[in-house]
């Protein structure tokens, strides 16, 4: 019995909790992609860099606050910096829309043109970010490190395995939950949210009914930029901020949005957690876990790992391929592709 409890604690500590946090970050990122897709009808390849940009602004504001001695211990100062970072990122993204995307929208360019344009934006942003903050690691986490540390947990329960919960993981989950609730309230209950959904469903009909297309587009960009900033900052708090990581996040984020169904907010959230848990559970080494529940003679020789950690993002790709083969519209999308 104790063996089983130990095994559960072990896997919660090393797979479930990190998976939940990572899943929330992916879900927030995928929500941004799905929103721009629903309204603007293209996959925004620059979204990863938007996350990076938002996180970078948050880091600068955090450093500024820290320099003035502002702190909300035990919470990280970065949370206080978030609103300012969101405003800056939203303005920046709206600027790119005004300068770059609007021209093609007015011309009703093909979506492939938008994709190429977004990859151009992506590289300009990537270069700018690396130019401003440098390509290296930046750590800006402060406040209490653990809500429960592994040793406290062991002392409390008397088990062999510890369960450590990082403050950043709890904050990630809580912030993601708040954001998702706010977003759904906005989309379902407010007039603007409803007009946005109408526009996403049928652009021409919505415009005919007097919905201001320009306004819907601005709100979609603003929401996706805000979500990107939050996702990027949470990711940076939880792991560490490194500009090139956000390029690697692009694939799991797209996979999450497509699995759920491009354009579907619920789909983006489900997809985010699906990808995150698949990655974590497929690359987890089950050796110690099995050691707790199996008798010694049954123990496997190796690490009992299903997939080497280097192939972590192959998981996202395989899920993407399976989706494209079986159900290209995604899990939660009624519209055909």
């Amino acid at each position: 019995m104790e063996g089983l409890l130990n095994a559960i604690v072990l896997i919660t500590n090393f797979a479930v909790v990190p998976g939940l946090a990572y899943g929330s970050q992916l879900a927030l990122g995928a929500l941004g992609v799905t929103l721009t897709f629903a309204v603007l009808r293209f996959s925004n390849f620059a979204h990863g860099e938007t996350m990076s940009f938002g996180a970078m602004v948050a880091i600068f504001v955090t450093w500024g606050l820290q320099a003035y001695g502002v702190s909300i211990d035990p919470l990280p100062t970065a949370l206080l910096a978030l609103p300012a970072a969101i405003i800056v990122t939203v303005l920046f993204v709206l600027g790119t829309d005004r300068l770059i995307y609007r021209f093609y929208r007015d011309k009703r360019s093909d979506q492939v043109v938008f994709i190429i344009v977004s990859i151009g934006v992506m590289f300009v942003m990537a270069g700018l970010i690396r130019f401003i903050i440098g390509p290296n690691d930046q750590i800006f986490t402060d406040g209490a490190r653990f809500l429960i540390s592994a040793r406290d947990f062991r002392d409390m329960t008397g088990l062999d395995e510890g369960l450590a919960i990082k403050t950043t993981q709890v904050i990630t989950l809580a912030t993601a939950a708040v954001c998702v609730l706010l977003l759904f309230w906005f989309l379902q209950k407010t007039r603007t949210g409803k007009s946005m959904r109408a526009y996403a469903d049928n652009e021409d009909l919505a415009t005919l009914s007097g919905i201001d297309a320009g306004r819907v587009v601005v709100i979609a960009w603003a929401l996706s930029a805000a979500l990107a900033t939050i996702a990027g900052t949470l990711y940076g708090l939880d792991k560490s901020y490194k500009p090139f990581v956000f390029q690697e996040l692009l694939l799991p984020i797209f996979a999450a949005a497509i699995v759920g169904g491009l354009g579907s907010p619920i789909g983006a959230i489900v997809g985010g957690y699906l990808i995150a848990f698949a990655e974590v559970f497929l690359t987890y080494a089950y050796k110690r876990f099995l050691g707790h529940i199996l008798p010694d003679s049954w123990m496997p020789d190796g690490l009992a790992q299903l997939l080497a950690t280097e192939y972590k993002f192959a998981v996202a790709f395989v899920i993407l391929v399976i989706t494209l083969l079986i159900r290209p519209t995604g899990l939660f999308n009624r519209r055909s592709t």
Binding site: I100, V121, V124, M125, L250, L251, F313, L324
Partner: protein, 437 residues
């Protein structure tokens, strides 16, 4: 604008730039740049076939390039007999099991009519096949990697002539493109872009981690070359008389001759591919492709199988990219999987095609020449500009040091900005697509 001014003059300007690099910096550098310009031109041609002819977005250029590079290792490197003995049969058996799994799965899927049953049967068969394969695979690869790990530790290649690997590289890339195209074509255009991006990251991850195949990040060095070695060259009588006739040292001249030989080979390949591409574009086939690109629905209504044509063009373009990848690895003489940065160089190839003129093969060639030249020369020039512009700040100014340290990053910004500006103000590029009837 006359045809000369628009089509020939830019090429002349480019060659003047190369000559300037040769005289101002060094001829060795100029030849190296020219070599990579030619390789880039082949890659850009591949992307142009996909994007310019058919409007397909391929963000996985580096993955196909890496497959071409792998072909050089597998074809041209010397076989490692001990490794074959240790694990060769096991690896072959595992591959055979995977192949059998695929065949059986496809056959079973034909036989079962019920949709849900079919899916369950597929899943069971695939998982069973993978588990069986990995049981033989793991021990054999370990045995292979254990054979003389510092020098070999991989199966080696077939020891065939290196030029053959260029063809095989194209075939490898075409095979990968066929699978990806089958999955992602016919759906939304974004899906192809995302799927190619994903597959290129996975190809590169596999090449970096599967040491038994091509030594992974330990790199395969000393690949055979289609041109003579510098040291051997210096022994040749005709080369000695050349050294006497020219005002150059024998070491420098031998390196120039070798690079020149590569230039000759690459020009031949580029010329053949350009000729083929131009002929295809001029033929009724090219007219059909343009029709499909410009109005899919109409072409479909006229009885053209749009999905099949897209698959064909995607496979052809990727094959060209694979050939370029094999050429690049041959030029380097080594296979270094970690040097393939999936997005960065893919993006560069895209800038070449868009700047040069999508849909025009000469345009993409010119774009490749100019963009690669700029990419290489922008670093020293940019550093120099920033160095001079911030000199007044003094040597210990943090702003100046930060700018100098991160100057290299500005190249990305400049390339991105160039792409956006060309797309916006001159979407047809330097040498626009000609209206053909």
């Amino acid at each position: 604008m006359t045809g000369f001014k628009r089509n020939v003059l830019p090429f002349l300007v480019f060659f003047v730039l190369i000559v300037l690099t040769g005289t101002l910096q060094s001829w060795s550098l100029a030849f190296s740049i020219l070599n990579l310009c030619l390789v880039s031109a082949v890659m850009a041609l591949g992307v142009n076939i996909q994007w310019g002819y058919a409007g397909l977005v391929n963000f996985g250029v580096m993955g196909f390039t890496a497959l071409g590079g792998l072909a050089v290792v597998l074809i041209a490197a010397d076989p490692v007999a001990a490794a074959w003995q240790a694990g060769g049969p096991g690896v072959l058996l595992a591959l055979l099991v995977i192949l059998a799994t695929v065949v059986i799965t496809l056959a079973v899927r034909r036989l079962i009519r019920h949709a849900a049953l079919r899916m369950i049967a597929t899943a069971v068969l695939v998982i069973a096949g993978l588990v069986t394969a990995s049981m033989v695979f793991g021990p054999s690869t370990e045995a292979i990697e254990g054979v003389n790990p510092s020098l070999a530790g991989y199966l080696g290649g077939l020891g065939l002539p290196v030029l053959l690997s260029w063809v095989v590289g194209g075939l490898f890339a075409a095979g990968a493109a066929f699978v990806i195209g089958k999955i992602a074509l016919g759906l939304r255009a974004d899906y192809l872009a995302i799927a190619t991006l994903g597959v290129s990251e996975i190809i590169i991850a596999v090449l970096m981690n599967e040491d038994w195949l091509a030594r992974g990040v330990k790199n395969v060095v000393g690949l055979p070359r289609p041109v003579p070695y510098e040291v051997a060259l210096r022994e040749e009588p005709w080369f000695r008389s050349l050294v006497d006739a020219l005002p150059l040292g024998s070491v420098e001249l031998s390196s120039l001759v070798v690079k020149g030989a590569y230039i000759g080979l690459f020009v031949v390949v580029l010329a053949i591919l350009l000729w083929l591409a131009e002929t295809a574009l001029r033929a009724p086939w090219g007219r059909m492709m343009r029709a499909v690109r410009d109005n899919e629905a109409a072409a479909n209504a006229m009885g053209k199988d749009v999905k099949r044509l897209h698959l064909l063009v995607f496979v052809l373009g990727s094959a060209v990219i694979g050939i370029a990848g094999a050429m690049m690895t041959t030029l380097d003489g080594q296979f270094t999987p970690s040097s393939y940065q999936p997005l960065r160089f893919t993006f560069l190839i895209w800038v070449m095609v868009i700047v040069g003129g999508s849909g025009n093969n000469w345009g993409s060639t010119l774009g490749a020449f100019i963009v690669w030249f700029t990419w290489v020369e922008a670093e020293p020039v940019g550093r120099m500009v920033i160095d001079h512009a911030t000199a007044w700040l003094g040597d210990d100014s943090s702003v100046r040091n930060h700018l100098l340290a991160n100057a290299a990053q500005m190249r990305l910004v400049v390339m991105g900005a160039v792409l956006l500006l060309v797309l916006r103000f001159s979407p047809r590029g330097l040498i626009p697509e000609t209206d053909r009837r």
